[in-house]
Amino acid sequence: MKKQAVGQSMDRVDGRLKVTGTARYFADHQPEGMLYAALVCSPVSSGRITAIDAAKALRAPGVADVVSHLNAPPVPGYKADNPNPKQGLKIFYDDRIYSNGQPVAIVVANTLERAVHAASLVKVTYAQEVHKTDMDENMGQAFQHKNMKDYLRGEADAWKKAPVHLEAEYNIPIEVHNPMELAGIIAHWETPDQLTVYAKTQGVKSVQQTLKTLFQLPESQITVHSRFVGGAFGMGLRIWPMEVATILAAKKIRKPVKLVITRKDMFTLVGYRPAARQRIGIGATTDGKLTGITHEAVANTSPYEDFTEAIVNMSRMMYACPNVNTRYQLVPLNLSTPVWMRGPGEATGAFALESAIDELAHQLKMDPLQLRILNHADTDPEKHLPYSSKYLKEAYEMGAAKIGWQQRSQTPGQLQENGWLVGYGMSSGVFSAGRGRATASATLKADGTLVIRSAAADIGPGTATAMVQIAADATGIDAKKIEFLLGESAYPEAPRQGGSSTVSTVGSAVNDVCRSLQQKLGEMASAGIPAFKGVKAENIQHEDGQLVAGNTRLDYAALLQLQQLPELTVTTTSQAGDERKHYAMYSFSVHFTKVHVHPATGVVRIKHIVSVADSGTVVNTKTARSQMIGGVVGGIGMALTEEALIDHRYGRYVNNNYADYHVPVNADTPPTDVLFINKKDPVINPMGAKGMGEIALIGFAAAVSNAVFNATGKRVRDLPITPDKLI
């Protein structure tokens, strides 16, 4: 038997394409006759457009058109008025301005430079109205979304009665999506009712569905290409108004149009992690048994859409605590709609919960690791179900050993190295391990190669590589002979790449389609190949890409050749059964950090990171490690550097560029040890792989703030922990 491919540290199948610049991202495409677009965006945060004077822009060299609500082709889907008033921003629909940076016109020209210049010549006048962008000033507007009900287990606010308890507020600012690749789209109406787009998306099928609704076209007339994505982290989970604007411009001009937005517009056009104000009350017995947790969160949304995520959910299920109540509310602000950002709401909530646990441990004079172990949930306290698999205690142990947790001093401010204060911190993270529904096709060719297709996405984790490994094990065909194709709406249905579920969902479909293929090959052999005559299909074995019955062996490829078939395709849909009724399924992570804090300048430097993932089978140790490190870097940004600043007088971002909005750089990123439990989950899917993308980040910020407290005795509850907060 061949060596198993799953679990190997296989190089990315598209690595060479990426490092040689051969991989074509959305903006690299160039349909014949393509024009370039630039946006005109509102400098006003609320009000109405009273006039648009495009005359000067239209006279500028190379300009094809200026499209706005005054002249845009109608979007048929907007007409079907939904009783829900909050149905998102209808671009170029009317004169209303809801937020600063909202696109008000799109200028199309024959070069990018000409489009950008002409956009600066469009004169828009506004009737300005009062806007609200300050979260703290508008807390009174908080409301509860219908999907986000209060949760109560046991007694509400039981923490207040606990002998040891505390209440604290934890704040995070808006964090903006800033992957290297900018957002945008190429829109091409091949005929007046045949639309092709090159998108930056986490789900080609989801884009197709949205466009189908908006433009009321059959699915067969909408093609979405998105083979390579230069980082998305959640911003590609939906289609954005400026993409619709580009499609409208292309429709009006009858030429393909490309839009790539500016770095500045990344702050206002592609969602963001919403700002959140959280209050935690937590109490325990004097020996550290949790008796009550209350977690209340308020996060911002836009005026025209309610964005909700799972901010308070971790507090319900992470620890064995009899009394828990949570509440989650939204405040609408004159900002664009937030969107999931890696680790999404769970990362926001984990900062609060895992900081509060650390604060409680300090009050109890107890090691925070011990406190967590003491309150470990052996079964899911929310769903009252056993876990499909949970190795959190092992993860705590492995991480503690690797970071040297025993060197930590229980009393803060005790350790120094070269004039820097030294602190150790830890936290845990958890994220639901999902499995959705996906379809894959497998095409075996007479030359022995296998091509598997599914409309999945790869925003960076190395999806195609993992799928090839899964297919190699399922079929016994050498990984080098297998290709996995994704990112085309014409491929069999797959969900968006989000919520750490691609390996589980699409991987299962790949596994299952390979099994179907083998079954089909067995049937063909049994029915048509003399050597297998009389052997029932189900009794034919499969080994290393061969059909085996007793001493008879036949290559899959030879079977096709004998049958004079150039290729054979089977398609299979795969989905979870009712496992979820019987098991609670989660991935867990544990983060440990060692930090230095400069006592004079307040500068924090993370010196060592250990992150442990309990995510079931690790399909590819190399890409999984990269995945974890990527999450950690996102976590460093959340903990130490990232904060989108708004001047509330204007409702406008003031640090909307890479120089002033500080995404962590290499110098911020210390040696990072990634450890895997790497034990198969027996329930979730055939591979036993749970998700990893989100847990890499969830909890990390608390591991840093807890370490900073351990170093200095100062508790920073407002992220990011910049030097001024420690001075």
Partner: protein, 326 residues
């Protein structure tokens, strides 16, 4: 961005003429600041005068004075042995600035001429006296965490963003200038300005004047020096506060001292009083604290930048301790 013409004169005189003739013309060197300003619509020159062909790229020693041509790259200056041995403070300051890629483009003259990083200056939708005199200063009532604590006016509270210039201010450099009226030499401390009522003017360079280079006199500051930069991320961020500290110590006594700060004022902020307070003293933390208190006496803060005063004091003490190795 507007359409503009582009010329690449071969001689210094031609460059100066090209600039003098055209009101909105600008020199362009590395372009790392000017292009961003143009793309943001902060400036819209009708002509760019590319000076990269001029013979101003050199590092030479003449009579003990180090001369650095205006077009010498930040990365070249930082790595040159004449700099690392004679003025290591300058090398340290340069290496604390921007990123290697930017330093490979940025020139000595361009670095001195870089504009403030005040966000409101870069965003033409919001008022800014430096960009549009008389329109108002958005930073005073807005987000001013990065802004000045020394020498600001009620017209502008921006800071000069350079690291290199902080070291040059401490090292008493001289700026060499050629212009329509001939050549002149400007002491470094008189090159940049405070905002006063003319925040649009960053420095005292006249119309059509070209920086040809800088001279740095020989100094005893080769050993006990330190450039400390406090910033929000470990690399590739502007200073919240920076300190250039240089000490001449013999027999455990400070013979002379140079101190300048960045991120705190509209110009590199030389601390003459604090320097005086150190002379004749022993290099101790206690004495550094006294100097730091003297240094920050005239500080005035705004809504978000009050932290800069203790940070400045602590940074001064830290940089001096590092310089003195105590």
């Amino acid at each position: 961005m507007n359409q503009f013409s582009y010329v690449r004169p071969a001689s210094q005189q031609a460059a100066i003429d090209a600039l003098t003739k055209d009101k909105s013309a600008r020199f362009i060197a590395g372009g790392t600041n000017l292009l961003d300003l143009m793309k943001n619509g902060v400036v819209a020159p009708e002509k760019l005068v590319d000076i990269n062909r001029l013979p101003l790229k050199s590092i030479t020693l003449n009579n003990n004075t180090l001369h650095i041509g205006a077009l010498t790259l930040n990365s070249e200056v930082a790595a040159h042995t004449l700099v690392t041995t004679r003025h290591p403070l300058l090398s340290q300051a340069l290496l604390a600035g921007a990123s290697q890629q930017l330093r490979n483009m940025a020139t000595t003259g361009g670095n001195m001429m870089q504009r403030t990083r005040c966000s409101y200056f870069y965003d033409i939708t919001m008022p800014c006296n430096k960009r549009t005199p008389g329109s108002g200063c958005s930073a005073i009532g807005g987000i001013n965490r990065m802004h000045a604590i020394f020498g600001a006016s009620d017209q502008c509270i921006a800071v000069h963003p350079s690291d290199m210039c902080i070291a040059l201010a401490a090292l008493d450099a001289t700026v060499l200038v050629a212009g329509p009226k001939g050549n002149r030499r400007i002491p470094f401390g008189e090159f940049h300005r405070l905002p006063g009522n003319t925040p649009d003017k960053d420095n005292n360079l006249g119309k059509g004047e070209l920086i040809t280079g800088i001279d740095i006199p020989a100094s005893p500051f080769t050993q006990n020096i330190y450039y400390l930069k406090v910033r929000d991320r470990a690399s590739y961020a502007f200073a919240l506060v920076s300190v250039a500290a240089a000490l001449d110590i013999s027999n455990n006594t400070i013979r002379s001292a140079r101190l300048a700060m960045g991120g705190v004022a509209h110009k590199p902020w030389r601390l003459h009083e604090a320097e005086k307070a150190l002379i004749g003293k022993t290099p101790t933390i206690e004495n550094f604290r006294i100097a730091a208190t003297v240094a920050t006496q005239s500080a005035r803060t705004y809504k978000h930048n009050a932290f800069k005063v203790p940070m400045a004091q602590n940074s001064l003490v830290t940089a001096l301790s590092k310089a003195a190795a105590v």
